[in-house]
Amino acid sequence: MPDLGKYAVEVLGAYGATLVLLAALVLVSLRRGRAARAALDAAEAEGHRHG
């Protein structure tokens, strides 16, 4: 851990906030993507049953 001096809060805050935001963005994207995939698979399966 580097010595951040008197600016530790700001620097750590900046890194923390950025990583949290990026992680949230990626996770939300992945969750939505999975949901969309599942919905599509369900719709396609049903479509085949209907002919």
């Binding site: 851990m1 580097p2 010595d3 951040l4 001096g5 008197k6 600016y7 530790a8 700001e10 620097v11 805050g13 900046a14 890194y15 906030a17 950025t18 935001l21 990026l22 949230a24 963005l25 990626v26 994207s29 992945l30 939505r32 993507g33 969309a36 995939r37 919905a39 599509l40 719709a43 396609e44 049903e46 479509g47 209907h50």
Partner: protein, 244 residues
């Protein structure tokens, strides 16, 4: 072989599925390396102390925030002129990414401002322009959400993007006229190649910018795929549900 063939959703999905693993891996490696390098292995600046480490987050995020809007402008134009659905959906997919990048730039900037300028926020032209950009993203996303019919939504948001871009440029001039500002000038002018940042700070910064760029591309490809699947689901359901 025309480039436009990738405007076909199926072709697009196939290609993007092939590209994505590489992109995600490269993005993770670049961002990870750059941030670890920047955070642990660069010295403090004489004037700014350890806050200089924020640059590896702030600048790439700011860059991507602007580029995302630019990309949306181009894809919107493609949709309006050639009506390729993938293009419109790519714009839709990019907006939240741009919004988050803008937010990161604003937050890291504010955190940087507190030690450097003694205040979280000043009405500096660059900062102000960014806030306006943030609003544009919000409005653009809200409009996508509010319109029921997907093609109409694509049309309307594309027009908003177009008109909004003109006004964004205008705002930039207006804001500069209104207040001269505290913010740094550009220190990495791509055109001239000259720069005002020492090499120790510069290399991780470039790596970080590359990483953020790759991350942006990977995210947009993935999210565009999601949008395509949602549209396809909708189409299938409509086909089955319309039995009246």
């Amino acid at each position: 072989m025309s480039l436009w063939q990738y405007a076909n959703p199926v072709k697009f999905l196939t290609l993007s599925a092939r590209l994505q693993p590489t992109l995600w891996a490269a993005a993770a490696i670049c961002v990870g390396t750059a941030l670890i390098w920047g955070f642990f292995f660069t010295p403090d600046d004489i004037r700014q102390g350890s806050t200089v480490k924020i640059i590896y987050l702030h600048v790439p995020a700011a860059l991507m925030a602007i580029n995302a809007w630019f990309m949306m402008l181009v894809t919107s134009l493609i949709w309006l002129v050639r009506r390729h659905h993938v293009s419109a959906l790519a714009a839709k997919a990019a907006a939240p990414v741009g919004l988050v990048m803008t937010l990161i730039a604003l937050i890291t900037g504010a955190l940087w401002g507190q030690p450097m300028w003694g205040t979280w926020w000043v009405w500096d032209p660059r900062l102000t322009s960014f806030l306006i950009l943030f609003l544009f993203y919000l409005g653009y996303i809200a409009l996508w959400e509010a319109v029921e019919d997907p093609d109409t939504a694509a049309d309307l948001t594309s027009m908003l993007c177009l008109v909004g871009s003109v006004f964004a440029v205008l705002s930039r001039y207006a804001v500069k006229f209104w207040n001269q500002g505290l913010h740094q000038g550009t220190s990495v002018p791509v055109v001239t190649g000259g720069r005002s940042v020492a090499d120790v700070f510069f290399y991780p910064l470039v790596l970080s910018m590359l990483g953020f760029g790759l991350l942006f591309v990977a995210l947009v490809l993935y999210r565009t795929g999601t949008e395509i699947r949602l549209r396809r689901t909708r189409a299938l359901q409509a086909r089955m549900g319309r039995d009246l």
